[in-house]
C-alpha cells in the first residue's frame, strides 16, 4: 500500500456518492468509506442549482470521511454530464528516425499531432486515448517502435464535452471546499471497474444506465473504440410514466421500481396495477401493459441511439464480448433482454470487480463508475509524473490561486 487513500465523488442526478479507498499490493481495491445521499439540484447529469448540489456533495463527503477516518482534502471527480461525445482524430508525420526506423520521438510526435483536434468553441477535451498506428500501408499497428516506414500515422480517440457544463460540476466540488485531484469520464470508469482483460480483448460495450444519463464505452480491436454519454436515464422512464399515466412523480417512481419492465408481456393484456392513495394522490389503476409499453419505448429508443453510435464505426460485428450492463438502471426487469434484441449482442450484468470492503460498493452496479474512478486514480498514481488528463491540467492552472 504505497499510496495515500484516494477519494472519488460522483454528482449524479438521483444520488451523490463518494468513496474512500486504498489499493493493496495485489492490485485489489479496498473501500473504507462510503457517502451516499439523495441528489438535489442535478438534472440529466447537469447541475441546475449550484447551492443545493454543493450541499449534497459536502454531505456525501462527510459521510465517507467519518466512516473511513480519512480527512478528505482532494477528490477525483467522475464526469457524466456535458454532452460528452467522441471523435477520432488522425495525425500523420514523415518518419524522422535514422534510416526510416521509427523512434520514440516519432511516436511522441505523431501522438501530439493526433491530439491536436479542432473542436467547436465551447468544447473541451477530457481524454485523449491512443488507438492504432499506421506505418505506410500497414494498418492496425499497436506498437510501431522499431518498424521501418516513410510515414507514420496514429488515430486518437478524443472524448470531449461542453466546457461550461463540466466546469459547473468542478466548481460545485471546489465550493465544498475541497481540492480536485483529477477528473474522468464515467463510462471509462465503469469499464475500468467491470471488465476483465478477456472481455476487452474480445471487444465489448459497457452500458451504464444512471438516473440522468446513460454512458457507453467500447473496446474493440484491442483499443478503446468509442465512448460517450446520452442525456437520458432512469429519470426519463419515471417522467414518461408520470406523463403517460397521469401520476405524480413519486408514484411513477414507485411504479417503475415495482412493475417496470422493458419488455411487454402480451399475455397479460387485461392485468391492472392498483396504486393506493397517498398524500395528495387519490389513487389510481393502470394497465400493466401500458406501464410496459411506456418503459419499453423509452429503453428501446435509448438502445437504438447507442446502436447508431456503434454503427458509425461498424462495431457490432466485432464485439465478441457483447454488452456489459451496469448502473442503477440495470436493475430494470428485462432490460438486458431488450438490449440484446436492439443491439443484436449478448448482454450480461456488470459489476465492480477486484474490489472488497463495504458490501454495497463492491456489489452494487450503481457503484461501478465510482469504483472505476478509484482504479483510475491508482493507475495514474502508479504512472506518477505523467500528466493525467488535459482537463485537469487546465483545472490546476485555473484554480491555482493559492
Amino acid at each position: 500500500m504505497g499510496f495515500d487513500p484516494a477519494v472519488v465523488v460522483e454528482v449524479g442526478t438521483t444520488r451523490v456518492r463518494a468513496l474512500v479507498g486504498d489499493v493493496r499490493e495485489d492490485g485489489n481495491l479496498m473501500v473504507t468509506g462510503i457517502g451516499d445521499v439523495p441528489s438535489r439540484g442535478v438534472k440529466k447529469g447537469e447541475i441546475v442549482h449550484l447551492e443545493n448540489a454543493v450541499g449534497c456533495i459536502r454531505e456525501a463527503l462527510d459521510q465517507a470521511d467519518r466512516q473511513s477516518g480519512v480527512t478528505i482534502h482532494s477528490v477525483n471527480v467522475v464526469l457524466s454530464g456535458g454532452d460528452i461525445a467522441w471523435k477520432i482524430n488522425r495525425g500523420s508525420i514523415p518518419v524522422m528516425g535514422d534510416e526510416y526506423v521509427i523512434s520514440d520521438d516519432d511516436i511522441e510526435h505523431v501522438l501530439d499531432t493526433a491530439k491536436a483536434v479542432s473542436l467547436p468553441e465551447n468544447r473541451e477535451v477530457i481524454h485523449s486515448i491512443k488507438q492504432h498506428f499506421y506505418v505506410d500501408d500497414h494498418e492496425g499497428v499497436i506498437d510501431p517502435q522499431g518498424m521501418e516506414g516513410a510515414h507514420l500515422a496514429a488515430d486518437m480517440l478524443i472524448l470531449h464535452g461542453i466546457r461550461n457544463r463540466l466546469k459547473q460540476t468542478v466548481r460545485a466540488v471546489r465550493s465544498v471546499p475541497v481540492e480536485i485531484e483529477d477528473v474522468a469520464f464515467s463510462g471509462l470508469c465503469s469499464a475500468l471497474a467491470c471488465l476483465t482483460p478477456d472481455q476487452k480483448e474480445s471487444g465489448v460495450v459497457v452500458i451504464d444506465i444512471g438516473g440522468g444519463t446513460t454512458d457507453y464505452f467500447v473496446y474493440a480491436n484491442h483499443t478503446v473504440a468509442i465512448g460517450g454519454t446520452l442525456a437520458v436515464g432512469g429519470d426519463h422512464i419515471t417522467n414518461d410514466l408520470a406523463i403517460g399515466l397521469g401520476l405524480p412523480t413519486r408514484q411513477a417512481e414507485k411504479l417503475k421500481r415495482a412493475h417496470g419492465s422493458a419488455m411487454i408481456d402480451y399475455n397479460a393484456r387485461q392485468k391492472t396495477v392498483f396504486l393506493p392513495a397517498e398524500g395528495g394522490f387519490a389513487g389510481s389503476s393502470v394497465y400493466q401493459n401500458d406501464v410496459q409499453s411506456i418503459v419499453h419505448a423509452r429503453m428501446e429508443e435509448t438502445f437504438e441511439l447507442i446502436r447508431s453510435e456503434l454503427d458509425k464505426k461498424e462495431l457490432v460485428p466485432i464485439l465478441g464480448g457483447g454488452i456489459v450492463m451496469t448502473g442503477g438502471g440495470s436493475h430494470l426487469r428485462e432490460v438486458k433482454v431488450l438490449a440484446e434484441k436492439t443491439l443484436g449482442l449478448r448482454c450480461m450484468q456488470g459489476q465492480p470487480r477486484n474490489v472488497s470492503g463495504l458490501a454495497i460498493a463492491t456489489e452494487g452496479p450503481e457503484y461501478a463508475s465510482l469504483v472505476g474512478m478509484l482504479r483510475y486514480a491508482f493507475l495514474r498514481d502508479e504512472r506518477r509524473g505523467s500528466p493525467s488528463t488535459p482537463f485537469s491540467h487546465i483545472l490546476r492552472k485555473m484554480f491555482q490561486k493559492g
Binding site: 441546475v48 446520452l230 414518461d240 406523463i243 403517460g244 399515466l245 405524480p248 401493459n289 401500458d290
Partner: protein, 404 residues
C-alpha cells in the same frame, strides 16, 4: 410536429397570402402536372438546385438554389449537400416567406434537394410566423436503404418544424393506379396527380371565400393537434351515384390505409368542392357516409366551396390524423396546473431564437414548456430533430389501452 405555438393572422385571407411551392424534382413534377390541369391556378413557384431541370419547367416562378461549389448543378441526391445549400441560401428562402400566411409545400423525400431544403424552409417559416403544410412523397422500398434512411431523417425533422405534415408513401401507388399490373409511368403520374389534387383542394379552402369556409383556425387546430403526420386523400366523381361512390372510394383509398385511418381517426378535416349545382343534400349524404366510416369520437372539421365549370363533378379531400394531443382553447385557458398534473396541458416548447414580432394579444399563452414534467425547466436534449425529453411513447404515437 408543431409543438410550438404559431400565432395565426385571422381574417383577410387574400390570394397572395396562401402560396404554393414545390421543391426539388418531385415537387416540380407535381406542380407541372397541376399547372396543366388547373386553369385558374395561382402563381406557383418551384425551388430547385438543378439549373437544367429548373429551365425545363413551365412554372412561371423559379428559384435556383446554388452556391460557389455547385454552380447550378443538382445536389446529386446527397442530403448533406442539400443542407449546406439551404443554409447558404437562407436569405433567399426567407424572402419567399414575406407577405405569406400559409405555405403549401410539396416535395419528394430521399433525394438531395427536397428532403433537405424543405425542413429548413419550414424552420424559417416558423420563425416568420408562417404556417406550413407539407405534402411529401416517401420513396419506394426498392430505392435502397440509403435513400430510405435519408427520407426517414427528413421526415423526423419535418415533424419538428412543419405545421401539418402529410406523408404519401410511393409504395402505395400501385393500389392507386389500379393494381400491381399498372405500368410504372402510370403509377408515378397517378401519384403526382393525387398530390396535386390535394394541393389544389387545400388552396381553394384557404385562399378563396367558400360557401362554408374552412379558415385558418381550423387548419391551425389541425396543425396543433395532429401530433405528427397526417394522412390525406382526394377523390372525385360525377354522375348519379357520385355521393356513394365518393364515400366508397375513400373507404378503400390506399392513402387512408384502406379505411383503417378513418376508423382510427381522432381528427379529420373534410373539404368538399362542387360545381354550381352542388346541393345541400349532396353534402349531407357525403358527410353521413364519411361519419359512418369514422371511429369513436373523431373531431370533424368541414368546409365546402364551389368552382365554376365543374358542372356536377364533386371532389372530396380529407385530411385525417390518427393522433390527437389534447389542447385547450387558448382564450379560455385554465391556470397552469401543478407540476405533477401534466396530462391535459399542450406540448408547448420555448421557441428557438427570438420571435421577430411580438405575439398578438388574443393568443395569451404561457410559453413555458409543459408535457415534459420534470424536464420542463431544463434545456431540451435534441437528437436528430427530436426532443428526447418528450416521452418516447408520445413521439412514436404509441396508443395506451387505458385512459388516464
Amino acid at each position: 410536429m408543431s409543438d410550438i405555438l404559431i400565432p395565426f393572422k385571422p381574417g383577410r385571407a387574400t390570394r397572395k397570402s396562401v402560396r404554393i411551392m414545390g421543391i426539388g424534382g418531385a415537387g416540380q413534377a407535381v406542380l407541372s402536372n397541376l399547372q396543366t390541369h388547373w386553369e385558374k391556378a395561382p402563381e406557383l413557384l418551384v425551388i430547385d438546385s438543378d439549373e437544367a431541370q429548373l429551365d425545363q419547367s413551365h412554372i412561371p416562378e423559379r428559384i435556383l438554389l446554388t452556391d460557389d461549389r455547385l454552380k447550378g448543378q443538382g445536389t446529386g441526391g446527397d442530403t448533406a449537400v442539400g443542407s449546406k445549400l439551404a443554409e447558404a441560401n437562407e436569405g433567399k428562402l426567407r424572402a419567399l416567406l414575406q407577405n405569406t400566411n400559409v405555405l403549401i409545400l410539396t416535395a419528394g423525400l430521399g433525394g438531395g434537394t427536397g428532403g433537405s431544403v424543405l425542413p429548413e424552409l419550414c424552420r424559417l417559416a416558423r420563425e416568420e410566423d408562417v404556417i406550413t403544410v407539407c405534402l411529401v412523397s416517401f420513396p419506394f422500398k426498392f430505392e435502397g436503404e440509403r435513400t430510405l434512411q435519408a427520407a426517414r431523417q427528413s421526415l423526423l425533422e419535418l415533424k419538428t418544424y412543419c405545421g401539418l405534415l402529410v406523408n404519401c408513401p410511393l409504395d402505395r401507388l400501385s393500389d392507386l393506379a389500379g393494381g400491381e399490373k399498372a405500368p410504372l409511368a402510370k403509377a408515378l403520374a397517378c401519384g403526382a396527380e393525387h398530390l396535386g389534387q390535394c394541393v389544389q383542394s387545400l388552396w381553394h379552402f384557404l385562399a378563396e371565400p367558400g360557401l362554408i369556409k374552412l379558415d385558418y383556425s381550423r387548419l391551425h387546430a389541425m396543425c396543433m393537434h395532429s401530433g405528427g403526420i397526417a394522412s390525406m386523400a382526394s377523390v372525385s366523381a360525377t354522375g348519379k351515384k357520385k355521393n356513394e361512390n365518393l364515400v366508397q372510394e375513400l373507404s378503400v383509398h390506399p392513402y387512408l390505409d384502406k379505411g383503417h385511418v378513418l376508423a382510427n381517426t381522432r381528427g379529420i378535416v373534410v373539404l368538399i368542392t362542387g360545381g354550381s349545382s352542388l346541393l345541400i343534400r349532396d353534402i349531407e349524404e357525403i358527410m353521413a357516409g364519411i361519419t359512418e366510416l369514422l371511429g369513436r369520437s373523431a373531431e370533424i372539421s368541414f368546409g365546402a366551396t364551389t368552382q365554376t365549370g365543374w358542372k356536377d363533378r364533386v371532389a372530396v379531400t380529407v385530411i385525417a390524423s390518427e393522433t390527437w394531443c389534447d389542447w385547450q382553447d387558448p382564450v379560455t385557458e385554465k391556470p397552469v396546473p401543478e407540476q405533477d398534473e401534466q396530462l391535459l396541458m399542450p406540448i408547448v416548447k420555448k421557441k428557438k431564437g427570438s420571435p421577430k414580432k411580438p405575439l398578438p394579444k388574443q393568443v395569451d399563452l404561457d410559453l413555458e414548456p409543459a408535457g415534459k414534467g420534470r424536464f420542463r425547466d431544463v434545456e431540451p436534449t435534441l437528437y436528430q430533430g427530436q426532443d428526447l425529453d418528450i416521452p418516447t411513447f408520445r413521439r412514436r404515437n404509441i396508443r395506451l389501452a387505458g385512459k388516464y
